[in-house]
């Protein structure tokens, strides 16, 4: 290959990579830099002073919110997985003519803005709504209880809003599943359940892991659901960061907290990619499938 030919991919990638570097990587640096400043916005401004203390300081007092975020995002992810897997399976193998229609129905919520549909849930779950009355009759909700402003409402909101992120990688992976392998397992006298557990599940694991990561991580940092559907005790770490940046204007502490959160996520993602390859993120096993 000539030099010119060898440079082609770099030209193609150039603009995009540059954009990502300048507007994704570099801001991380600035966030880190801001985290090392001290002072106050209104009296003297923030001055750079190698204030490493900001990092542990930002975590202290926010342990509750961090744990809560893990719990809410984790529960929502598990719920999303349980709901999405059979659905993705059904669309991939049992939908026939309706496949595209169902896929569309799954992505449909994306087309109303995030806020509007979360607010819709707020209305649906408000104290006087018929749905809450039904839940009360079914004793899923205590008689004098409510759904809004509880952890349940926040988790329900997170599950709903991030469900498409779970469904799509699962579907992409399931669609490529070679059913003949499942058939083969059955021919070898395994039951449906065994076939599922020993053949289907392992083969679709990359899709599951991709879905889990794409759901858990954004849910972890979300704050809208907690703000609109939660009450005083449901704040997540995203709410804290938002409050620090926009309400309290304590930029260094906010930056330190975001930076730590980012580092944590990066560690998880890099570990996973080491283990499974970046192709797994996109639902296919092997990234080298270009022909």
């Amino acid at each position: 290959m000539s030099l010119k030919q060898r440079l082609v991919p770099y030209w193609l990638l150039g603009p995009g990579l540059l954009w990502l570097v300048v507007f994704f990587i570099v801001p991380m640096y600035f966030m880190g830099e801001l985290a090392l400043r001290s002072g106050s916005l209104t009296s003297g401004g923030f001055v750079f002073s190698w204030e490493w203390a900001n990092f542990p300081d930002s975590l202290s007092g926010h342990g509750d919110q961090i744990l809560r975020s893990f719990f809410y995002a984790g529960t929502a992810t598990v719920l999303a997985l349980l709901i999405a897997y059979p659905l993705a399976y059904a669309i991939a193998f049992r939908a026939g003519r309706f496949k595209l229609l169902l896929l569309f129905a799954v992505i449909a919520p994306f087309f109303t803005t995030y806020l509007v549909r979360t607010i819709a849930w707020k209305t649906i779950l408000s104290d006087d709504s018929p749905i809450v009355s039904v839940l009360q009759t079914l004793t899923l909700v205590p008689q004098d209880g409510r759904v809004l402003a509880t952890s349940g409402a926040v988790i329900a909101g997170l599950t709903y809003n991030f469900l498409p992120f779970m469904i799509l990688p699962l579907y992409a992976n399931l669609e490529r599943l070679d059913l003949s392998l499942v058939e083969a397992a059955k021919d070898l006298y395994s039951s449906s359940r065994q076939a599922f557990l020993k053949v289907t599940l392992p083969l679709t694991m990359p899709g599951i892991v991709a879905g889990v990561l794409l759901t858990f991580i954004p849910a972890f940092g979300d704050y809208i659901n907690a703000q609109l559907l939660g009450g005083t005790q449901q704040a997540m770490i995203g709410n804290v960061i938002q409050s620090l940046y926009l309400n309290q204007r304590d930029y260094p502490e906010a930056a330190a907290l975001s930076f730590l959160m980012m580092a944590l996520i990066l560690a998880v993602v890099v570990l996973y990619i080491r283990f499974a390859g970046t192709g797994a993120f996109m639902g296919d096993e092997d990234e080298e499938t270009a022909r």
């Binding site: 990587i25 830099e33 801001l34 002072g39 509750d64 309400n247 204007r249």
Partner: protein, 383 residues
């Protein structure tokens, strides 16, 4: 493929990219400021007067004016030919300040010529050099009709940078069909109403009201007294007594029937769709506040801004505003005009509170160690 060579080339590429990245960052960092924030060091300018025309953008709180075709904005447009973009994007003083701060720091106002913010926020902005000063000569009507009690407030004794917009009181909104007995902030802590009560997010309102309910005067309270009140609120939040801390959204909750009572603002009737909701003066007193029109640095079309300020101080215009928003007007003569119109508002204690009515009320107070107390308060807000 020559794997040894590929590895070496890979290493070289990785190192080269890393070096390029570091160089890029250092280069970018060199062009930045040393200090972030801290206020503008430019000299304070005075807003210029002049011929009135063009466009005007105003930022205000919601529910503060009749935006309809027969409202004040339309009237102003008709009389002056100025095209007004009236934006109701202020939901909290801090939030609005936070959004605008980077631009104000640069001497830009985001296209706005007038903001309406609380006393303490106006002072904060002025101290940071974010506001322009106002020449009284440009506002003849204002200084003719401004109520004497507002002429020389503590935060702006010469009214150099602020012109009152409306005033109001913070007390308790009660759904009389569900909780008619609530008359004091202490009642909000009654377990009977667990989960059915909300409080405001503002530091200078909610803890201050709680202190009043305990017999402490917020104007002279020590940090410890502030923190004690905050602790009481915190316990109530953690036990589930308080459903949520809100900005304007308590009006939604009252409308939807999610709550029976809320700490809220006296004139918000236009935002609440609940026939049984009523604003009550707490037995221990309320907090009073006023919002101010200010002109930010970099404001475009200051002549039109000044004309607007002067316009809304005409009694016949001010009375229209009061009729719609039901807050306390800073303009003298409004009550008489309402009486002439036969409007029941003329008798309203909320719109025209007497000295007696507000005898126990306090203004907007700041704790001595603002940062420490505010931090404790923010902790309560974020659970």
């Amino acid at each position: 493929m020559d794997t040894g060579g590929t590895r070496a080339r890979g290493a070289v590429l990785a190192i080269a990219s890393a070096v390029a990245l570091v160089a890029l960052i250092l280069g970018l960092a060199a062009c930045g400021d040393d200090t972030v924030g801290g206020g503008s060091s430019e000299k304070v300018t005075t807003a210029k007067g002049g011929p009135v025309s063009g466009e005007l953008t105003i930022s205000n709180w919601p529910g503060y004016i009749d935006p309809g075709p027969k409202g004040t904005v339309a009237e102003f447009e008709g009389k002056t030919g100025v095209s007004v973009d009236y934006i109701e994007d202020i939901n909290s003083n801090d939030g609005f300040f936070g959004k605008l701060q980077p631009q104000l720091e640069q001497g830009e106002s985001g296209g706005r010529s007038i903001f309406v913010v609380a006393d303490y926020m106006a002072k904060q902005m002025y101290d940071l050099g974010y506001l322009q000063e106002i020449d009284h000569a440009d506002l003849p009507t204002v200084f003719k009709t401004l109520a004497p009690s507002l002429e020389s407030p503590g935060f702006d004794p010469e009214r150099k940078f602020s012109v009152p917009w409306q005033g109001g009181m913070t007390g308790i909104w009660v759904d009389t069909s569900k909780a008619p007995e609530i008359r004091s902030v202490n009642d909000l802590f009654d377990p009977k109403y667990r989960g059915k009560v909300t409080m405001l997010e503002e530091l200078r309102e909610t803890p201050a009201l709680v202190m009043l309910a305990e017999g402490v005067d917020p104007a002279t309270a020590s940090d410890e007294e502030w923190l004690k009140a905050i602790d009481r609120i915190k316990a109530a939040a953690e036990s589930g007594q308080i459903r949520d801390f809100t900005g304007n959204e308590y009006t939604e909750d009252l409308t939807a029937g999610n709550i029976v009572a809320a700490i809220g603002w006296s004139g918000d009737a236009s935002l609440i769709e609940n026939k049984n909701a009523e604003w009550r003066m707490p037995t221990e007193g309320c907090t009073q506040w006023s919002e101010n029109m200010v002109i930010p640095v970099g404001a475009p079309n200051t002549p039109a801004a000044l004309a607007w300020m002067d316009f809304v101080y005409r009694p016949e215009v001010a009375v229209d505003i009061t009729e719609y928003v039901e807050y306390i007007s800073p303009v003298q003569g409004v009550k008489e005009l309402l009486e002439k119109r036969g409007s029941p508002l003329a008798e309203s204690e909320i719109v025209f509170p007497t000295e007696e009515f507000t005898s126990k009320c306090t203004g907007q107070n700041t704790p001595p160690d603002l940062e420490r107390v505010n931090e404790a308060w923010q902790d309560v807000l974020t659970g």
